[in-house]
Amino acid sequence: MASAEQSKPRLLPGKLSKAGVLSFLSAQGILIFFLLSMFVFSFFSEQFLSQSNIMTVVRQASIIGIIAVGVSVVIIGGNLDLSVGSMLSFSTVLVVDLHDKIGPTNAILLMFALTLMIGAVNGFLIGFLRLNSLIVTLAMLSAIQGFVLIYSGGQNVDIADQEGTWFAFFGRGYVGGIAVPILMFGLLAIVMQVVMSYTGYGRRIFAVGGNPMAAVYSGIRKNWCVFSTYLISAFCVACAALVLGSRVMGSQNNVGQGYELLVLAGIILGGTSLLGGAGSIWKTVIGVLILGFIQNGLLLMGYPYYIQWIVTWVIIILAVWLDLANKRKSLFTTHS
């Protein structure tokens, strides 16, 4: 299990010795893979590396990316969150439906409050009652899906006055030429990366995920740490719902279905171990972007979009396998 010290981002090699460069290469495998795949795709399609295309891809990936930032923190803390897809449906339907009823400001505040409450329920069950996070969030997935359907009566919701509302800013607006979703994604990722790498709180999350017993013995309040990671995850989902609801100006009640898997795929691709205690936000960002660019590249090459699922399947397993093989210094397991 990697310690917090090891999982700090090393954007530049420490020493320029041969060993230093090699360890840099193995640590930054995901970044190298990212650049390589960009390079390959740019051969097959001329539009691929155009500025507008890159911006489009990043904007599309930003919803999954925003959620992935939160789920990364949960996973580094040694747990899982499978309920984010349902939560995204819930929050999006809620904010869109309430927009016309109580006005955008109140709708956004209420949506954040209720989403954080769901996060608190997850956090309480997993942090304080110490239930298995996989099963709890699986149960929450179906329960929240039920709530969404009850709330919306199975109907899709949308905003009546789509042009006149400032709510459109979150999904369609631009600040200084950069789309707001990208800004939110970038800002959240940078803040969380700094929190995880340079604050005592981040170190505690790494400690709890890496070795819960040792963390408790060293005086870390593990329950609260786990609880807080689910609040962070819920906060990120609420931000994503803001972007999604504002972009489509409406919502189907199953809009977030399957998002948890794409989020997990991005995180795993970024090299964060599901065992907890290791990983980094910026690698998650690159993992999510790789997924986005693969989808985009394959589309530009003329393949149907579901081919990306098959490619993702292979890449996820290869990425995790090579990482594991590197750690145990052999390609295959030794048992028969």
């Binding site: 699986l138 149960a139 329960a143 039920g146 709530f147 329950n223 795993i268 048992h335």
Partner: protein
């Protein structure tokens, strides 16, 4: 009676889930006049047979300490193959469907065995990838069964009992015997309970896990073929979210996610609990949405109760 007791003895005792099943059964008998009829009870068995068949295999994989998230996708692929290849030959189509399940199960198991990558990640990838294969194969189209023998099979009965119910119960009996009476079953518990010790004891861990992945792949494919036969059609999205229902059923049945503990009898109870709940609420005209919420609440309650009853206080650090 003693012989029946003896049958359940050994690894399995009467699980709390069966108390819950009986309570549900009594509750719905009072709440709906239609519930307690032979037709409805066989109906419940038919409705649960799809999830139930996969849950049998999943119990093995989970006792083994692994998990398989790709079962819903495997079910979808098998259903599409069984209906899509019908023009070539019905027998071939069914063999291809079942073969695809076995093959994908073997692939999952092989990757877990050789690379040592966590089964959660391997099968999560497969869940996305196999769904991609389905869309690639079907071209996003739904297929409809033309073969009458195939389309009738899913709704046929032997005497008064539906064939699907019989298949499910026979498979459950076989898997119960395999788990409690054979070396393979014993090894499954051993591997899940303590992988290192079981390697030292001479169990071929990798192969053993792979066999269990093949079993769950086969059952997922079988469920897909039967579901396609029951509906007379296959859609590319068939089997979505099934892995959630299956895992819910298995966990309700008392099988531990950490491995080393579980039983087919418990899984049968978990599957029936979900089936009775859905069917009974349906008869009471509760909207389907509420069932999702209630199921989630029940699953979490079961976890809390389980934690309170079986908490190994010495193992965990209290603050």
């Amino acid at each position: 009676m003693t012989s029946i007791k003896g049958f359940f003895r050994g690894r399995t005792s009467i699980q709390p889930i069966w108390v819950f099943v009986i309570a549900l059964f009594i509750f719905f008998s009072f709440m709906s006049e239609y519930f307690l009829s032979f037709g409805n009870i066989t109906n419940i068995l038919v409705q649960t047979s799809t999830i139930g068949l996969i849950a049998l295999g999943m119990t093995f994989v989970m006792i083994n300490g692994n998990i398989d998230l790709s079962v819903g996708a495997i079910l979808g692929l098998a259903a599409s193959l069984a209906v899509g290849l019908q023009e070539v030959s019905m027998t071939l189509a069914i063999l291809a469907a079942l073969g695809s399940g076995i093959l994908l199960g073997a692939l999952n198991g092989f990757v877990v065995w050789k690379t040592g990558v966590n089964a959660f990640i391997v099968t999560l990838g497969a869940m996305l990838g196999v769904r991609g294969l389905i869309f690639l194969y079907t071209g996003e189209q739904s297929f409809f069964a033309m073969n009458f023998a195939f389309a009738d099979f899913g709704t046929s009965t032997i005497g008064p009992v539906p064939v699907l119910a019989i298949i499910f119960l026979v498979c459950a009996l076989i898997m119960h015997l395999v788990l409690t009476r054979t070396g393979h079953g014993r090894n499954t518990f051993a591997v899940g309970g303590n992988p290192e010790a079981s390697i030292d004891a001479g169990i071929r861990l990798g192969r053993h896990m792979m066999i269990n992945f093949i079993i769950v792949g086969f059952f997922a494919a079988l469920a897909g073929v039967l579901l396609a036969s029951q509906m007379g059609a296959a859609t590319p999205n068939l089997g979505r979210d099934y892995e959630l229902w299956v895992i819910t059923a298995v966990v309700l049945g008392g099988t531990k996610l950490t491995g080393g503990y579980g039983s087919i009898v418990g899984t049968l109870g978990g599957v029936l609990a979900i089936g009775i709940l859905r069917n009974g609420m349906n008869l009471m005209q509760v909207p389907a949405f509420y069932v999702l919420v209630i199921l989630g609440a029940i699953l979490i309650s079961v976890l809390i109760i389980d934690k309170k009853l079986n908490a190994p206080s010495t193992k965990e650090v209290r603050i």
